[in-house]
């Protein structure tokens, strides 16, 4: 039951952890992500540094399955403190990993705990849950660029 490896201790701890689940006092961007398959709904809040180059803080609220909740919490741990440019790169590495494309050792280090989702494609019905927060943030960061 290789698929069951997804529900490991680390994922479960992230799924039920309250650490990143809060509202920020102030933020620069806020966006909703919704996965109608599962009914997962998250609201991401992002606070940037004064020069608008770094992700200074990030939090989320909402509800959903363990995979969506854990992958959101993990994303926040992984990307907090990164520059917007780095964050976008890491998001792309994450997407590659989910699609089962080869990624280098260094790249996988950048993903930190997010590596535990590398086998999610064994559960095709759940891939969207693992992507939700990452897609939502990716869209937010790319809108900023257009503005």
């Amino acid at each position: 039951m290789e698929e069951l490896d997804i529900y490991n201790e680390l994922l479960m701890e992230h799924a039920y952890s309250k650490k990143n689940k809060k509202e920020l006092d102030s933020y620069d961007a806020c966006s909703l992500g919704h996965n109608p398959n599962c009914g997962d709904e998250i609201k991401l809040e992002v606070k940037l540094s004064e020069d608008k180059k770094l992700i200074e803080d990030m939090s989320f609220s909402g509800h959903g399955c363990a995979i969506s909740q854990a992958s959101t919490s993990i994303m926040i741990d992984t990307l907090k403190g990164k520059s917007i440019k780095e964050a976008k790169e890491i998001i792309n590495i994450y997407f590659k990993m989910i699609r089962r494309e080869n990624i280098t050792k260094e790249d996988s280090k950048l993903l930190k705990d997010a590596m535990i989702l590398k086998n999610i494609s064994n559960m095709p019905a759940r891939v969207k849950c693992a992507m939700l927060a990452w897609h939502t943030l990716d869209d937010m960061l790319n809108i900023d660029k257009k503005a």
């Binding site: 698929e3 529900y7 799924a15 009914g39 019905a125």
Partner: protein, 400 residues
């Protein structure tokens, strides 16, 4: 009974028959035989094969008429599925018969297919959409029936809820409706495989179901309508086979049921549906009910022993059909169903195309198991063991 169903020979525990049932060999074979021996376009050829295909297709109307005790096979229209049947009613009957201020009353249990079309039509015609809600027992109380008044023109009720498994007292609701001259649409999608549906006894104005939930093939559904209503309705789809004469500016339409069956029809589906009806009749609804009620009783008692579950079904088993919704407290149903899947157990999770119903109950989604004639107690035992395992996996985290 399992031996009749080739797919169940693998060791899958199939508890999602409310979504679609598995098919017995006789149904599968009938479709393949149709293509091997009589396939042709019905109503369109004078040669023998086409006559045979036409006769197989026409015969299917007769068989369905007998099956639900309609008064004439003109009242039986084949569609793609229950959803198309419900849309046909909304567009061909609703659009022409609802005026500003008229009311459509639905139970809150309705599947999106008996709800979204009415929203559209009510918006178009400035009619008002109202709901009858369930009590703490997942049943429609008599006091809710007071929402049916002289303003009510159309009522939509599901015979059995695909979420709570509640069996609605359609006969009673229809008699109240008819006192106010309202027409009633009965969604029999979740009852047709489990209990005798008699349109004349119910006095339903319209009734719909899909073949695929009653051991028949996908892609064919039934719309029953009283002849006096159908014959005055505008066709829903127009084109070949549903016409009499076509002139440059005007057309006269064919007789019922053909006027609602435009284009080349699903003859293999009709043939398969006939075989599914034969299969059900051979076993008999009495035996089906008895077997499924025994299993339902067993399932309810087993699930009620698990204190980590929340259960969403009527207390009284007499008002409960083969659908059971529940949740593991603190565990999202999609996680549970993914893990159950790794143990070869198929249950549904989600909102079951009934978002307004779930919202009214204050929940987002549920796990749902549903029973059919091929299930047995060992299926339930497997599920119960698996639920205990899933709960153990989550227990230590959900409490932290």
């Amino acid at each position: 009974m399992k031996e009749d169903f080739p797919l169940l020979k693998s060791n899958v525990v199939y508890l999602d028959s409310a979504a679609t049932s598995q098919k017995p060999s006789c149904v599968i074979d009938s479709i393949s035989n149709y293509y091997k021996s009589i396939n042709a376009n019905p109503h369109r050829g004078a040669y023998n094969l086409s006559v045979q295909a036409t006769s197989a297709y026409d015969n299917a109307h007769e068989v369905v008429k007998e099956f639900i005790n309609a008064s004439s096979s003109k009242e039986i229209i084949f569609t793609k599925n229950a959803t198309e049947s419900l849309n046909l009613i909304a567009y061909s009957y609703g659009l022409d018969n609802l005026s500003e201020g008229d009311e459509v009353v639905l139970t809150i249990m309705e599947h999106h297919s008996d709800l979204v079309p009415w929203q559209e039509i009510c918006k178009k015609n400035k009619a008002i959409l109202k709901y009858m809600y369930v009590n703490e027992n997942y049943e429609i109380s008599d006091s809710e029936l007071e929402k049916i008044t002289s303003k009510t023109k159309i009522i939509g009720i599901t015979h059995v809820s695909n979420v709570s498994g509640t069996i609605n007292d359609v006969k009673k609701i229809i008699s109240v409706a008819h006192k106010h001259n309202a027409k009633v649409v009965v969604d029999a999608s979740q009852s047709i495989a489990h209990m005798k549906v008699d349109v004349q006894d119910m006095d339903a104005d319209f009734l719909v179901f899909s073949s695929h939930k009653m051991y028949g093939p996908m892609g064919i559904g039934v719309l029953y309508g009283k002849e006096e209503l159908l014959k005055n309705m505008t066709p829903f789809l127009m084109g070949g086979d549903m016409i009499e004469y076509v002139y440059e500016q005007d057309t006269s339409y064919a007789e019922l049921p053909q006027r609602f069956e435009a284009g080349t029809q699903n003859v293999e589906g009709a043939v398969g549906l006939v075989e599914a009806i034969n299969y059900i009749n051979k076993i008999g609804y009495d035996k089906i009910r008895e077997h499924e009620r025994e299993l339902l009783k067993y399932s309810r008692s087993k699930l009620e022993e698990l204190d980590f579950l929340e259960l969403y079904y009527p207390k009284n088993i007499d008002n409960h059909s083969s659908v059971i919704s529940f949740n593991i407290k603190g565990v999202h149903p999609h996680d549970a169903s993914s893990i159950l899947d790794t143990m070869n157990i198929c249950v549904r999770s989600g909102n079951h195309c009934a978002q307004p119903f779930l919202r009214s109950l204050g929940i987002d989604s549920t796990l749902r198991m549903s029973l059919a004639i091929y299930n047995d107690k060992s299926d339930i035992d497997h599920l119960v063991d698996a639920l205990i395992k899933v709960n153990k996996m989550f227990e230590k985290y959900k409490e932290s």
